[in-house]
Symmetry: C2
Subunit: 673 residues, 2 copies
């Protein structure tokens, strides 16, 4: 690293960076104190690292010129070839905002409305997005939303994987807090990044040794941190996080070797919490307590005094004459393939015998696999979820990188979900496979923070759902997944009712631009959408998101269901003396209100049936529609009243009230004689 | 370790253990194949370790006698002084069940109904519990329910912490799979157990190198595993997991040094998946695929052949004459303090100015702190959640261990939640503090698997909830927490509406025997339950779980609310020309149906107001009650339609429709002139 160092090592360059860092500290302290809310300590400790990333230059000896550390264009914040920076310790937002303003992403005046209503500057970083209506959302220059600790490195891994598979030439930098390394989630990413060869990843630990409640070393120490990270197969360097030379040396080392390196680079940056504001330096209480206006004034004076000193010193040095490389905004050509065309060329196959919806879904994934934006994530349940056919065609490792459109991260649902979000932020369509209890439960907060909130176009598969799963038992029977997904804004919740629909409807899921939860089942169920089905109903040929299907007309009752219990509802209609109409409602959120109204007007009696706990499911969606339109109808909900147990699906449906005969009994229906 | 080894090392003892292990393998393969469901590979790989734990004996040279490795009494499975075993890789249930049956916890005939309906043997282990009605639940000998990977070591940590604080003399053993170490959650526990000095913890990694989709080393390798675990401050030993000598040597080493050791012990046991059934040894496809009946017959023949051989060989050895120590069923005396008496001695203080509900809650925790069963968990938000007063009185470290009734694990919500569950399984009352987004979101699956399903008596605090949080922004504004907790069976959901109630009602939460989610807020709100409150309502003096409070009578409308928006509802009643009655509904699940019916009959118009997303909250609970009782009323829901943003609480309530004036506008009410 001698070269860069000796050349970089000009007082002038150091002074230039220190000047900028001081401005950033001054601006961020000002925001926090005037808003009376924010995190000064951790913003000050990470400032010098941010300064080196956004304003540092390193020497490329081969090309005899200086390069900016980061490739970015403040006028084009969404340029897809840009280097990414993830502020995993999102509470350091003030430092990030001041840095981005100073770098020209937006006017410094905007900083004054930090955390105010209608401001683009959220309390914690909100990624920049262009909405369909042309409106902007979030903060220019923020590559992904953060705030909840531990997500950052997984988001970065998803972006790095995207670059590797789709041939982009960008690097991904992550800024980690020390406290957040107590979380388990970063260790999933720390394991995966080197194991999957995502060597274009560089991460900093802002090791200021203090967290909200006190000293990291007292509360739950990370030591020996260097050993831990090395044992997780990272190249690890330990530096003074306030020494511009040391930071830039390592960034030069990473950047100039980035295409040939064998391991990702982790930089443990020893820092001082509150660095630059003497009276709060090393005081954990200023993690989230703003400086008083008096403290602020004092600090600001000191900052400005130092800036004047620097200006005087700098005037003595002639600026570097080495040319600085212009950014070259190249990106690989986008795949021109058209999903609609691929769909038309690859119709679903025929279904003849009872089949699980996971198989129907898997068939769709495989037949549309050639669509290049499609990428499949697995967490050790590839076969179980039905994704194997796709993954055989488009394996994780292969001669042709752009055909390697699947990855199996092992038992890491949280990391997988955030990685998928990171890739989706690059414009691809990740499909995430695992059991419903894990995709909606274990990873609920990742779905919330990384997919639902920024509305990432991720398709979330939940397999083995409901008590229809049978023998695996309560720990695996997901009976809350619809509820916890409906509890989130922006997510479409779909439960196909047979394999034919699971196959055909997934086309629409892929065409739809937004997050979808797709609830499927493990065990074979009777086919509904085939000619001569055992229920004697006319099969529909096409399905739409948000549209229910009236499968059977009737006058006395309307039964609405989705998933494997729909077969039971259809049997009820066949067995009962009463005239019953049956509605298939595969889209549970948003539910088909028009069809519900029509049905309610006609039969005045509505029952919902769900293989799901009584709270949060299809029943609540239907009931809400009824109440919204002030319909005077009799409403019955047939659902689970608690956890079930292990047993055969048939035995469980009988014992827990979801079999046709038990449904009839609960609705007081009478058998045909 | 020479001593134990040389003495133990009698062929007879080894043969005895091999005989038992063979029986266990024979029984577990039989269950799996006849049930046509289960996990043979991982059951066979862990069998020899289980055998040594439950049937091994080690030599205590000081006392000149043999000791059983585990202290347990099959006739008294809930004896609180017993050593605990957590099968973290819950899919190995068949091996555990066969072991427990062989150890006398239940009749071997019970194994035949494995996974059948009404069987005590769930697909994945269900902990043994005695219900209030005297009925039994789960499997005798199972110390905690498992099945979802990664929870085990945290559950064990909670039990070990319980022993340390409350003076019990038991050890806790955890059986980990290798695949599950890809999860982040175990690394939280791996960090915490040594850092918190929980040295009575011994864990095995059943390192068979295979997971569901293939080789652990290919999918997401753990290597260098020994280095990783050492860097996490464990004492690590690597052994052949099928060598009885090696396993017992280490168990002897752990057991005889257990009171003096400095670090917990991690045993990496290299094992062979499918060990003992030649045809499937080392074949990952048999992770969850039962042997065919033909394969079973062949395997069973081999097992029985080996058992006969062993019996012949054993007959040649005279059994060991060294006495075996009887188990001494001692436990420390239970604290005799009575919570009701403590409550009567420590009434709440007076409240005079607007106060946050987190403060009211914290005051209650502090004034009842002397109750010895009470234990407080924090995750780096001790002060933020209001728990500091308690934690100052009962700190993590101190001269008197039994006064050390709090712990701060740092940023580890998942580990904290499972640790609390582990401690609750020992009869204590853990209170878990963090922000609502983390307690109900990040740790949702831990709440589900470890608290809701086994109905553990854990009090889950969710602070900083709703958009009333203000400036922190979307990542921290929990607007789904009520929905995701209501989606779970067995959990009472409570949101106190002012600081007075937050303080007084928490008494009832502690008296209630079961899981509770307690939703509190960060910012001060007006006091309601004080004399001369600004709303002119008569303050109630006592509160009951499940009971709403009619604060104001009215004829035209009923507004039902809980939490900080109740103040807005009360203002509406003061401002509006219409006659409005206002109900405080602090218990959202189960909701006070009787009061709702009464109100509905009277006003025929009901509105709910919630600082929560429109799905899953109080509105759904009220609507459900209305539908259930077929009440013909006009229902209005005032709630959030999506994520908000950063801003002051007042600005946010105004913009997002929760301020008094916006509520009036949405309900079409008119102002008094």
């Amino acid at each position: 690293m001698k070269n860069q160092r000796t050349l970089f090592d000009t007082i002038g360059e150091k002074l230039r960076l220190e000047r900028i860092a001081t401005e950033i500290r001054d601006m961020s302290m000002d925001n926090i104190s005037k808003t009376k809310s924010g995190h000064p300590g951790g913003s000050l400790s990470v400032t010098d690292i941010l300064t080196c990333l956004y304003f540092g230059r390193i020497y490329n000896s081969r090309q005899g010129r200086l390069e900016n550390v980061l490739n970015y264009d403040p006028c084009d914040p969404l340029w897809e070839g840009r280097d990414r920076v993830i502020m995993s310790k999102g509470h350091a937002a003030p430092a990030l905002y001041a840095t981005l303003a100073r770098a020209g992403f937006f006017d410094c005046q905007v900083l004054k409305i930090y955390k105010k209503i209608d401001s683009p500057l959220e309390g914690h970083p909100a990624m920049f997005q262009l909405l369909e209506d042309g409106k902007e959302r979030g903060t220019r220059g923020v590559d992904f939303s953060t705030g909840s600790l531990g997500h950052g490195l997984s988001l970065a891994a998803g972006m790095a994987l995207h670059a590797k598979v789709y041939g982009y030439d960008y690097d991904v930098y992550t800024l980690l807090g020390d406290g957040e390394l107590q979380e388990g989630m970063p260790w999933e990413a720390l394991m995966t990044v080197p194991n999957k060869g995502l060597t274009r990843t560089c991460a900093f630990v802002d090791y200021n040794h203090l967290q909200v409640d006190g000293s990291v070393d007292d509360i739950n120490q990370l030591e020996p941190l260097e050993k831990k990270l090395k044992a997780f197969n990272w190249e690890v360097k330990v530096i003074d996080g306030h020494d511009f030379y040391e930071i830039l040396d390592l960034l030069a080392y990473f950047k100039l070797k980035r295409t040939t390196r064998k391991k990702p680079l982790m930089i443990i940056a020893n820092t001082l919490k509150g660095k630059g504001v003497q009276e709060i330096e090393g005081d954990f209480r200023y993690h989230a307590v703003p400086l008083t206006l008096e403290q602020l004034e004092k600090a600001s004076k000191a900052f400005h005094h130092r800036m004047e000193e620097i200006d005087r010193e700098m005037s003595r040095y002639s600026p570097s004459t080495v040319p600085v490389k212009e950014i070259e905004k190249t990106s690989p050509p986008l795949a021109q393939d058209d999903l609609r065309e691929i769909i038309s060329r690859n119709p679903p196959g025929e279904y003849k015998v009872p089949t699980a919806t996971r198989i129907g879904y898997g068939n769709c994934l495989a037949r549309l696999g050639e669509y290049k934006r499609l990428f499949v994530f697995n967490a050790d349940l590839e076969g179980a979820c039905g994704a194997s056919a796709f993954c055989k065609k488009f394996p994780e490792r292969g001669a042709n990188p752009e055909d390697c459109r699947s990855i199996n991260v092992g038992c890491q649902e949280c990391n997988m979900m955030a990685m998928a979000a990171g890739m989706a932020s690059c414009g691809k369509i990740p499909v995430v496979n695992t059991f419903g209890i894990f995709s909606t439960g274990r990873a609920w907060e990742m779905v919330r923070q990384d997919i639902s909130y920024p509305r990432m176009n991720v398709k979330i598969i939940g397999s083995h759902t409901g008590i229809a799963l049978g023998e695996y038992g309560v720990s695996h029977q997901s009976i809350e997944d619809v509820g916890v997904m409906r509890s989130l804004p922006n997510i479409v919740v779909i439960e196909p009712s047979d394999a034919v629909q699971a196959d055909k409807l997934f086309e629409k899921v892929l065409l739809y631009d937004g997050p979808v939860y797709y609830r499927i089942g493990r065990n074979p169920t009777d086919l509904i959408y085939v000619k001569n089905n055992i229920f004697g109903v006319e099969p529909v040929l096409d399905f739409e998101i948000g549209k229910g299907i009236l499968l059977r007309e009737g006058d006395d009752w309307t039964i609405i269901a989705s998933g494997s219990v729909l077969c039971q509802a259809l049997k009820v209609a066949q067995m009962a003396r009463e005239s019953i109409q049956v509605i298939d409602m595969p889209t549970i959120e948003p539910v088909d209100e028009a069809l519900i109204i029509k049905a309610a007007m006609k039969t005045k009696r509505i029952a919902t049936v769900q293989d799901h706990y009584k709270n949060g499911g299809l029943n609540d969606a239907v009931l809400r529609a009824i109440a919204k339109h002030r319909l005077q109808v009799e409403f019955h909900s047939i659902a689970l009243s608690g956890f079930a147990e292990s047993g055969s699906p048939g035995d469980l449906y009988e014992k827990y009230g979801l079999s046709a005969s038990r449904i009839m009994e609960q609705l007081g229906l009478t058998r045909k004689t």
